[in-house]
Symmetry: C2
Subunit: 352 residues, 2 copies
């Protein structure tokens, strides 16, 4: 009577007096097992506190899990998206040995129809999970409805749409991010100061900008700061458009001491400041350590960049699907990124 110490399904099978095939059926809730043996096996599984060996599982099932990613293409103007892309690639190399595969689909931030076309391409072939930036609200909703119908889980990255069935949102806490910008503003406030909020984007209606600005104003209100807040929306992202809009605001008697740019295009404002002769440089707060911003941070025209670890956002978006699909872990619906303050002094060590 030698009882070898068996492991896993074998040990369960031995104790239950069945074969491992039956054990496997119970583990995966597959039909074709009598209630009696199902109960017996379930009990043993609990007794043993059985944890499946994931390596063996992935090795045995030849299946490849397919993930798709739908984000803006990286251009000179939208360099921001390079960082999430890097994070996605890093996650991919990390999990590809375990039988996962990631396909990229890029859309044009200036063209809603490109989003729809790419979304369609994703659903044209089999896919087990999706990461997307739901920049265009209506188009994104049409897509997620299809996903819901086909029971394909999806994760929002960088932007969110409230009230969706997304597995998770991975991105900044927008309101609080603007709130911090409000705080940073105070370092430059004098009695007569005015503040200026600048939105430079083609999709100004975005939930993102509203939330961010609301947070910014909330800080000032909470601290009873009476300084007026101006705001300009610049719909075209080219340099002439930006200059044309800003010039009238910075006359000789301008008291704008703080400029808050609500996205990564603060370098356009810095460029304006660079070419304009002002008696006193306003404090300039922007978003994201993209290359052009980095230069202006170094030379002092931009004072603060608020960042939300874009590389990590990309990484986490993939890993979240991995954890849900492969490890069956529960997932937090909101995964807020930290609100990082990047200055000239710490920028070299920032993980972008």
């Amino acid at each position: 009577m030698k009882k070898k110490e068996l492991q896993g399904v074998k040990e369960i099978a031995r104790r239950a007096n069945v074969t491992i095939a039956t054990v496997d059926r119970v583990i995966h809730n597959r039909p074709g097992v009598s209630e009696k043996t199902r109960e017996k096996i379930t009990k043993i599984i609990e007794e043993l506190n059985y944890q499946p060996n994931l390596l063996a599982r992935r090795l045995a099932s030849g299946k490849i899990i397919k993930l798709a990613v739908l984000i803006p293409a990286v251009t000179a103007e939208t360099e921001f998206w390079d960082a999430p892309l890097r994070g996605i690639r890093r996650a991919e190399t990390e999990i590809s040995p375990y039988g996962l595969q990631v396909s990229m689909f890029f859309f044009d931030l200036n063209d809603k129809s490109s989003f729809t076309a790419q979304a369609r391409a994703i659903l044209a072939s089999p896919v087990d999970g999706v990461v997307l930036a739901p920049t265009f609200v209506a188009e994104a909703q049409a897509f997620t409805e299809d996903c819901n119908r086909q029971r394909i889980p999806y994760v929002f990255i960088d932007t969110t749409i409230p009230g969706q069935a997304n597995l998770s949102y991975i991105g900044p806490p927008l309101f609080q991010s603007g709130y911090l910008a409000g705080k940073l503003s105070t370092y430059a406030l004098r009695e007569a100061s005015q503040l200026l909020v600048v939105n430079i984007a083609t999709a100004i209606e975005s939930y993102t900008y509203q939330q961010t600005e609301a947070g910014f104003r909330a800080y000032l209100a909470d601290h009873h700061l009476p300084h007026p807040v101006l705001r300009v929306d610049i719909h075209q992202t080219d340099e002439p458009s930006v200059f044309r809009t800003l010039q009238p605001l910075f006359g000789d008697s301008s008291t704008i001491d703080v400029i808050f740019v609500t996205n990564s295009r603060s370098f356009l404002v810095a460029r304006f400041l660079e070419k304009t002769d002002l008696p006193r440089k306003p404090l300039l707060i922007g978003y994201d350590l993209v290359q052009e911003n980095a230069g202006y941070l170094t030379n002092g025209l931009i004072d603060f960049l608020i960042c939300h670890q874009p590389e990590d956002q990309g990484y986490r978006s993939i890993m979240t699907l991995y954890q849900s699909l492969v490890l069956a872990k529960p997932i937090d619906k909101e995964q807020y990124m930290p609100i990082d303050i990047v200055t000239r002094e710490n920028q070299a060590f920032y993980r972008n």
Copy 2:
């Protein structure tokens, strides 16, 4: 003639007209293979751009890889170490399915001999890799020499010793961290201001404090700020000792407008400020979002906490060994953490 598409070692073996055992020998550079077949197999491996299946490898070799961690015990006074510990635990659960095992060894920050005793305990049983905080220089060196001799790789966390054979250092860039503190100081500087650097620790001689203070002073020098910098070393970390030392510095005519505490014990200074009636609260800059500091950040007695993602330091230390030992990846000798600025406004989202 049906040629099935074989994978991995099988395909290599088929092409080389040998068995997979021989292929395995070549892959692992084991002896007992004729030069001729070794060459033939090596060539095929290159042609195929063969990537071993790590799952299969770990599954087949029953071996368990053992890691040991040597860090300070978490106490009320050294709560900082709770965060790296959490990161280590997170990494452990992530990699334990792949046959890794982590053992913890804690030493007492007030007792060098406890470090040595724990170091000895680590080497008493088989171990494949070590993470350690080399707080006590001489003791740590004695230990790492043993590791060198036994060819056990080790990673430094949070603190480093220059010129060692450590696989990697994972922690803050100290000088630059102090430099940033210098920058933050300037928000409170008036013409007559003095600045105060406070070291509160039992091991004042540490390389860490020297570097940090050097960076702090360097910022002021680089920007031609003529304000005097005082410095006090407080060797005992109890409240009375701290109060006794600080009191004389904050007389009625004190012009100290900035206090920079070089480690996580800024809450002790905050407590002093809380109980002392000063005409004008100095700007207080400290390190690490430990609980006691968090409270003073919220109520405004501490203005800035500089943090270096301690949880992530722990996580990375283990993952670095994993990547080296299991995936045979090359490792950066310096893995500098970002220099994060935590304020009342963004503290809720900080990943500590």
